[in-house]
Amino acid sequence: SQTIHQWPATLVQPVGSPLSLECTVEGTSNPNLYWYRQAAGRGLQLLFYSVGIGQISSEVPQNLSASRPQDRQFILSSKKLLLSDSGFYLCAWSSGTEMNTEAFFGQGTRLTVV
Protein backbone atom coordinates (compact mmCIF):
# COMPACT_ATOMS: atom_id res chain seq x y z
CA SER A 1 0.00 0.00 0.00
CA GLN A 2 1.04 3.58 -0.54
CA THR A 3 2.29 5.74 2.31
CA ILE A 4 3.50 9.30 2.56
CA HIS A 5 6.05 10.50 5.08
CA GLN A 6 6.54 14.11 6.01
CA TRP A 7 9.01 15.47 8.53
CA PRO A 8 9.59 17.08 10.87
CA ALA A 9 6.20 17.29 12.56
CA THR A 10 6.99 20.59 14.26
CA LEU A 11 9.69 23.15 13.69
CA VAL A 12 10.59 26.45 15.29
CA GLN A 13 13.01 28.56 13.30
CA PRO A 14 14.33 32.12 13.70
CA VAL A 15 13.69 34.75 11.07
CA GLY A 16 16.36 34.68 8.40
CA SER A 17 17.28 31.03 8.90
CA PRO A 18 17.05 28.43 6.11
CA LEU A 19 14.33 25.82 5.79
CA SER A 20 14.17 22.31 4.43
CA LEU A 21 11.05 20.17 4.70
CA GLU A 22 11.08 16.72 3.19
CA CYS A 23 8.34 14.50 1.89
CA THR A 24 8.65 10.97 0.54
CA VAL A 25 6.09 8.62 -0.92
CA GLU A 26 6.28 4.83 -0.86
CA GLY A 27 4.39 2.19 -2.78
CA THR A 28 3.76 4.08 -6.01
CA SER A 29 5.74 5.38 -8.95
CA ASN A 30 5.62 8.67 -10.82
CA PRO A 31 3.24 10.35 -8.40
CA ASN A 32 2.09 13.94 -8.71
CA LEU A 33 3.45 15.75 -5.66
CA TYR A 34 2.12 18.85 -3.95
CA TRP A 35 3.08 21.31 -1.24
CA TYR A 36 0.28 23.22 0.46
CA ARG A 37 0.36 25.79 3.23
CA GLN A 38 -2.43 26.30 5.69
CA ALA A 39 -2.23 29.55 7.61
CA ALA A 40 -4.31 30.12 10.72
CA GLY A 41 -7.95 30.74 9.78
CA ARG A 42 -7.30 30.26 6.09
CA GLY A 43 -7.71 27.44 3.66
CA LEU A 44 -5.10 25.39 1.89
CA GLN A 45 -2.95 27.38 -0.46
CA LEU A 46 -1.25 25.43 -3.23
CA LEU A 47 2.42 26.39 -3.24
CA PHE A 48 4.05 23.97 -5.67
CA TYR A 49 3.21 20.89 -7.62
CA SER A 50 5.29 18.47 -9.63
CA VAL A 51 4.33 15.91 -12.24
CA GLY A 52 7.83 14.45 -12.63
CA ILE A 53 11.47 14.60 -11.57
CA GLY A 54 12.82 18.10 -11.95
CA GLN A 55 9.43 19.46 -13.04
CA ILE A 56 8.19 22.07 -10.57
CA SER A 57 5.27 24.44 -11.02
CA SER A 58 5.02 27.39 -8.66
CA GLU A 59 1.61 28.76 -7.85
CA VAL A 60 2.47 31.63 -5.56
CA PRO A 61 5.54 33.87 -5.87
CA GLN A 62 7.34 33.98 -2.55
CA ASN A 63 10.64 33.19 -0.92
CA LEU A 64 10.02 29.46 -0.92
CA SER A 65 11.23 26.96 -3.50
CA ALA A 66 10.65 23.29 -4.17
CA SER A 67 12.73 20.53 -5.68
CA ARG A 68 12.14 16.96 -6.73
CA PRO A 69 15.50 15.22 -6.85
CA GLN A 70 14.00 11.74 -6.99
CA ASP A 71 10.72 10.32 -8.26
CA ARG A 72 9.14 10.02 -4.83
CA GLN A 73 10.89 12.82 -2.95
CA PHE A 74 9.67 16.39 -2.73
CA ILE A 75 11.53 19.07 -0.79
CA LEU A 76 10.36 22.52 0.27
CA SER A 77 13.10 25.03 0.97
CA SER A 78 13.83 28.60 1.85
CA LYS A 79 17.11 30.45 2.09
CA LYS A 80 15.79 33.02 4.59
CA LEU A 81 12.55 32.55 6.48
CA LEU A 82 10.11 35.37 7.10
CA LEU A 83 7.61 35.66 9.93
CA SER A 84 4.86 35.29 7.34
CA ASP A 85 6.16 31.82 6.47
CA SER A 86 4.69 30.44 9.68
CA GLY A 87 1.94 27.94 9.08
CA PHE A 88 1.01 24.31 8.65
CA TYR A 89 2.68 22.74 5.62
CA LEU A 90 1.16 19.72 4.00
CA CYS A 91 2.65 17.43 1.41
CA ALA A 92 0.34 15.38 -0.78
CA TRP A 93 0.51 12.98 -3.67
CA SER A 94 -1.89 11.78 -6.34
CA SER A 95 -1.69 9.19 -9.08
CA GLY A 96 0.30 10.32 -12.08
CA THR A 97 -1.80 8.26 -14.44
CA GLU A 98 -5.29 9.42 -13.57
CA MET A 99 -6.95 12.74 -14.10
CA ASN A 100 -9.34 12.27 -11.18
CA THR A 101 -6.77 13.61 -8.81
CA GLU A 102 -7.74 12.27 -5.41
CA ALA A 103 -4.89 13.40 -3.18
CA PHE A 104 -3.38 11.67 -0.18
CA PHE A 105 -1.89 13.86 2.49
CA GLY A 106 0.94 13.61 4.95
CA GLN A 107 0.49 14.51 8.59
CA GLY A 108 1.88 17.99 8.11
CA THR A 109 4.67 20.14 9.53
CA ARG A 110 3.81 23.01 11.84
CA LEU A 111 6.38 25.73 11.22
CA THR A 112 6.72 28.65 13.60
CA VAL A 113 9.07 31.42 12.59
CA VAL A 114 10.16 33.53 15.56
Partner: protein, 113 residues
Amino acid sequence: AQSVTQLDSQVPVFEEAPVELRCNYSSSVSVYLFWYVQYPNQGLQLLLKYLSGSTLVKGINGFEAEFNKSQTSFHLRKPSVHISDTAEYFCAVSDHSSYKLIFGSGTRLLVRP
Protein backbone atom coordinates in the same frame (compact mmCIF):
# COMPACT_ATOMS: atom_id res chain seq x y z
CA ALA B 1 -8.69 28.99 -13.62
CA GLN B 2 -10.72 27.18 -11.02
CA SER B 3 -11.74 28.56 -7.67
CA VAL B 4 -13.74 27.29 -4.72
CA THR B 5 -15.87 29.28 -2.30
CA GLN B 6 -16.98 28.04 1.08
CA LEU B 7 -19.12 30.84 2.43
CA ASP B 8 -19.44 29.53 5.98
CA SER B 9 -16.26 29.71 8.02
CA GLN B 10 -17.91 28.00 10.99
CA VAL B 11 -21.11 26.02 11.39
CA PRO B 12 -22.30 25.21 14.94
CA VAL B 13 -24.87 22.46 15.26
CA PHE B 14 -26.29 20.28 18.00
CA GLU B 15 -25.60 16.58 18.11
CA GLU B 16 -28.05 14.46 16.07
CA ALA B 17 -29.18 17.49 14.05
CA PRO B 18 -28.78 17.62 10.27
CA VAL B 19 -26.08 19.75 8.70
CA GLU B 20 -25.26 21.20 5.30
CA LEU B 21 -21.87 22.68 4.43
CA ARG B 22 -21.94 24.83 1.32
CA CYS B 23 -19.47 24.81 -1.54
CA ASN B 24 -19.58 26.70 -4.82
CA TYR B 25 -16.98 26.44 -7.54
CA SER B 26 -15.96 28.35 -10.60
CA SER B 27 -14.44 26.74 -13.66
CA SER B 28 -14.60 27.12 -17.41
CA VAL B 29 -14.18 23.40 -17.99
CA SER B 30 -15.58 20.18 -16.60
CA VAL B 31 -14.41 19.45 -13.11
CA TYR B 32 -13.91 16.82 -10.49
CA LEU B 33 -15.13 17.75 -7.01
CA PHE B 34 -14.04 16.55 -3.60
CA TRP B 35 -14.76 16.96 0.08
CA TYR B 36 -11.96 16.41 2.58
CA VAL B 37 -12.01 16.41 6.39
CA GLN B 38 -9.19 17.55 8.64
CA TYR B 39 -8.99 16.69 12.32
CA PRO B 40 -6.80 18.92 14.54
CA ASN B 41 -3.12 18.90 13.64
CA GLN B 42 -3.53 16.21 11.05
CA GLY B 43 -3.51 15.88 7.31
CA LEU B 44 -6.62 15.69 5.19
CA GLN B 45 -8.76 12.64 4.58
CA LEU B 46 -11.04 12.17 1.60
CA LEU B 47 -14.75 12.05 2.47
CA LEU B 48 -16.19 11.70 -1.01
CA LYS B 49 -15.69 12.69 -4.62
CA TYR B 50 -17.70 13.42 -7.72
CA LEU B 51 -16.15 12.36 -11.00
CA SER B 52 -19.13 11.77 -13.28
CA GLY B 53 -22.50 10.03 -13.40
CA SER B 54 -24.98 10.26 -10.55
CA THR B 55 -25.06 13.72 -9.03
CA LEU B 56 -25.65 12.35 -5.52
CA VAL B 57 -22.45 11.02 -4.07
CA LYS B 58 -22.19 9.05 -0.85
CA GLY B 59 -19.04 9.02 1.22
CA ILE B 60 -17.64 7.78 4.47
CA ASN B 61 -19.07 8.46 7.93
CA GLY B 62 -22.61 8.96 6.61
CA PHE B 63 -21.82 12.06 4.55
CA GLU B 64 -23.21 12.73 1.10
CA ALA B 65 -22.97 15.55 -1.41
CA GLU B 66 -24.93 16.63 -4.44
CA PHE B 67 -23.40 18.04 -7.58
CA ASN B 68 -25.49 20.78 -9.16
CA LYS B 69 -24.00 21.92 -12.43
CA SER B 70 -26.45 24.75 -13.06
CA GLN B 71 -25.74 26.27 -9.66
CA THR B 72 -22.05 25.25 -9.71
CA SER B 73 -22.46 23.84 -6.24
CA PHE B 74 -21.36 20.74 -4.36
CA HIS B 75 -22.91 20.96 -0.90
CA LEU B 76 -22.07 18.42 1.79
CA ARG B 77 -24.82 17.00 3.99
CA LYS B 78 -25.30 14.65 6.89
CA PRO B 79 -28.74 13.83 8.31
CA SER B 80 -27.54 13.37 11.91
CA VAL B 81 -24.17 14.54 13.18
CA HIS B 82 -22.08 13.19 16.03
CA ILE B 83 -19.66 14.89 18.37
CA SER B 84 -16.86 13.10 16.53
CA ASP B 85 -17.77 14.96 13.32
CA THR B 86 -16.28 18.12 14.80
CA ALA B 87 -13.51 19.00 12.35
CA GLU B 88 -12.65 21.27 9.45
CA TYR B 89 -14.13 20.42 6.08
CA PHE B 90 -12.63 21.43 2.77
CA CYS B 91 -14.18 21.45 -0.65
CA ALA B 92 -11.78 21.03 -3.57
CA VAL B 93 -11.86 21.08 -7.35
CA SER B 94 -9.65 19.86 -10.15
CA ASP B 95 -10.30 19.92 -13.85
CA HIS B 96 -9.93 17.41 -16.63
CA SER B 97 -6.79 18.96 -18.05
CA SER B 98 -4.75 19.79 -14.99
CA TYR B 99 -3.25 17.96 -12.08
CA LYS B 100 -3.84 20.92 -9.77
CA LEU B 101 -6.17 20.45 -6.81
CA ILE B 102 -7.60 23.74 -5.56
CA PHE B 103 -9.15 24.01 -2.12
CA GLY B 104 -11.68 26.31 -0.55
CA SER B 105 -11.02 28.18 2.68
CA GLY B 106 -12.66 25.49 4.80
CA THR B 107 -15.67 25.28 7.10
CA ARG B 108 -15.26 24.42 10.73
CA LEU B 109 -18.08 22.14 11.89
CA LEU B 110 -18.64 22.39 15.63
CA VAL B 111 -20.99 19.76 17.03
CA ARG B 112 -22.36 20.51 20.49
CA PRO B 113 -23.97 18.02 22.90
